[in-house]
Amino acid sequence: MRKELLKNFVDMNEVEAVSIAKALVETDGGPVAVLETCKEAMEEVGRLFEAGEYFLSELIAAGDIFNQIMAFTLPKLQQGDVSSIGTMVLGTVQGDVHNIGKDIFKVMAEASGIHVIDIGIDVPHEKFVEAIKEHQPDIVGMCCLITLGVDSMKQTVEVIKEAGLRDGIKIIIGGGRVSEAVMEHVGADAWADDAARGVRLSKELLA
């Protein structure tokens, strides 16, 4: 059943994938098997995206299948079944109210084993600082869609530095406006203009 689930998930057969997962989750050791298979499927979807075979619509569809399956799988998991490779505080920076990119990234990051704390959109610089203090993340993800976001990310990084929190964390920036040059300008550690690359680089930063 795991193979079938994996194949149907990766092929975007939503109805079949969800129905197989529903059956599998009821078997002995099923919840863990479903979780692991879905994570594997999301990783494969990300790989296909980076290879140019899948597109944003497939990432969104995959995220939707993942969320549907997790809705009935997570309550059946025991503590300790879900391992995390690190914690990320994630938000769209101050002045920018967009969420599509952040939300696509978030589900893929969670599927890859990153514990994501989503602090929302239009997040004031200080709120990033507070969230870092509270959640002690390994990595901070900042998103922006509009051009205003570039300097907003730079200011956020500066405020994090002023608070003396920069050294202990990695920062990845993401969204339509980021590039290598913007990463340097902002003072981040990595950049990604798509979710699959973002997750791959986040995992590298956490390694």
């Binding site: 597109f55 619509s57 569809a61 002045g95 239009d122 051009t147 570039v150 339509g176 406006r177």
Partner: protein, 411 residues
């Protein structure tokens, strides 16, 4: 150096722009200028003041365009494109063509739920933003298909515009009357600005607006994440809906001809989201038909291919040579030129993020190298990949780009 009279200068600039559109090399690479929030910042006013005070907006625009001359007048944001209102009032061309952009003052009157403006929902120096959202359920596709105009008017307008929630209420009637008053103010201000810009030698170029049918569904009816799921869950309905939307959206764009439009701007959003299979099945056929029909009616299109258009680049060759302008955001214009030279005018060339984060010397060198590749054969319009520079853009970087155009752009 002789100073040209404003009228000759305007004619020269217009000829440069439209010459490139005709795939020619004229005297210099046409340059659209670098607009956005930088215009307000340079004028010493907040984005909120720029958005809501017509006099301050005009003064800032004129100051910027005097100091940073380009072939078309760059400006701060005009407003947020809202096709649902234009479509709802399709049978009233004077109204329909005037409300395609929701300006800040219009939004004060209408209360459009997915628009956010500085000085209102956002801080004074934030940029105006479009939020999206789902305003239609999947079960309503049949209603949309049966009559897209009626559906926009009866269902989408009340759901998206706070002050038009009940179309027969005094609030709604007062709102439409107030919208008329605001439009008159806006027109008066535009005329005053036009006069000042004419004195500075800027041509008056009217641009109409168009929409790809699938983008209307994604942007204003279902929201993009829902629509991409609809493509898999309700493919036949979505296909019937884009086909039903084609005629009214074409009619909408054709109306701009009567108000003097010389070309139609069609900003795309979903192109980047779709695989070639989905693009060719749901997105491109009706968009292509609209571009072809506009071309037959004597209107070229200027299509903004948002994000990466690379997987769909070759579909542009299905259009007749000289159909219009392909404006690229992330797709490399050099790569596009190799494929489209002699067929399509290419627009774009510099990443806004680079203008924000680079240095004058690097920008100068970049423009020099870009032009060396893009100029031969003509048919190239230089423009930022997104026409929206933030307030914080270093002004010396802005200046460097304008100077580089003069230095390296002459044929």
């Amino acid at each position: 150096m002789t100073v040209k009279d404003p009228q000759s200068l305007a004619e020269e600039r217009e000829a440069r722009f439209f010459g490139a559109m005709e795939l020619k090399a004229t005297d210099r690479v046409p340059f659209t200028g670098l607009g956005g929030d930088i215009v307000a910042a340079y004028g010493g006013i907040s984005n909120a003041e720029y958005t809501f005070d017509y006099d301050l907006q005009r003064q800032a625009t004129v100051k910027y365009l005097r100091d940073f001359p380009s072939d078309l007048p760059a400006s701060g944001g005009a407003g947020i494109g809202n096709i649902f209102l234009s479509l709802a009032f399709l049978d009233f061309p004077d109204l329909s063509t005037s409300i395609a952009f929701t300006t800040g003052p219009y939004n004060d009157v209408l209360g459009v739920k997915f628009c956010r403006f500085p000085g209102r929902e956002l801080p004074d120096n934030s940029s105006m933003q479009y939020l999206g959202g789902a305003y239609m359920e999947p079960k309503e596709y049949d209603e949309l298909i049966a009559d897209p105009v009626k559906f926009s008017y009866e269902k989408i307008v009340p759901r998206t515009s706070t002050n038009l929630e009940n179309l027969s209420s005094p609030t709604a009637l007062a709102t439409m009357a107030r919208l008329g008053i605001e439009m008159a103010k806006h027109r008066a201000s535009s005329r005053a600005l036009g006069k000042e810009l004419a004195a500075l030698g800027y041509p008056s170029v009217v641009r109409g607006l168009g929409w790809a049918p699938l983008d209307y569904i994604g942007d204003q009816l279902r929201d993009i994440p829902n629509l991409v799921l609809d493509l898999r869950r309700h493919p036949d309905k979505v296909k019937a809906a884009v086909e039903a939307l084609m005629e009214p959206l074409l009619k909408m764009s054709l109306m701009y001809k009567d108000v003097g439009a010389k070309y139609i701007f069609i900003p795309l959003h979903l192109n980047e989201y779709l695989s070639p299979k989905l693009y060719n099945e749901f997105f491109w056929p009706t968009l292509k038909e609209i571009i072809l029909k506009l071309f037959e009616a004597g209107l070229k299109s200027q299509v903004f291919f948002e994000g990466w258009q690379d997987p769909h680049l070759e579909t542009i060759l299905e259009l007749p040579a000289g159909w219009g302008v392909a404006y690229f955001e992330k797709t490399d214009v050099r790569k596009a030129k190799k494929l489209l030279q002699g067929h399509t005018c290419i627009m774009g060339g510099i990443d806004v993020s680079d203008i924000i984060s680079s240095t004058p010397a690097k920008l100068d060198q970049y423009v020099k190298e870009l032009f060396a590749e893009m100029m031969p054969g003509g048919g190239f319009i230089f423009s930022p990949n997104i026409g929206y520079l933030p307030r914080e853009t270093p002004i010396e970087n802005v200046r460097a780009v304008y100077e580089a155009v003069e230095k390296y752009g002459k044929y």
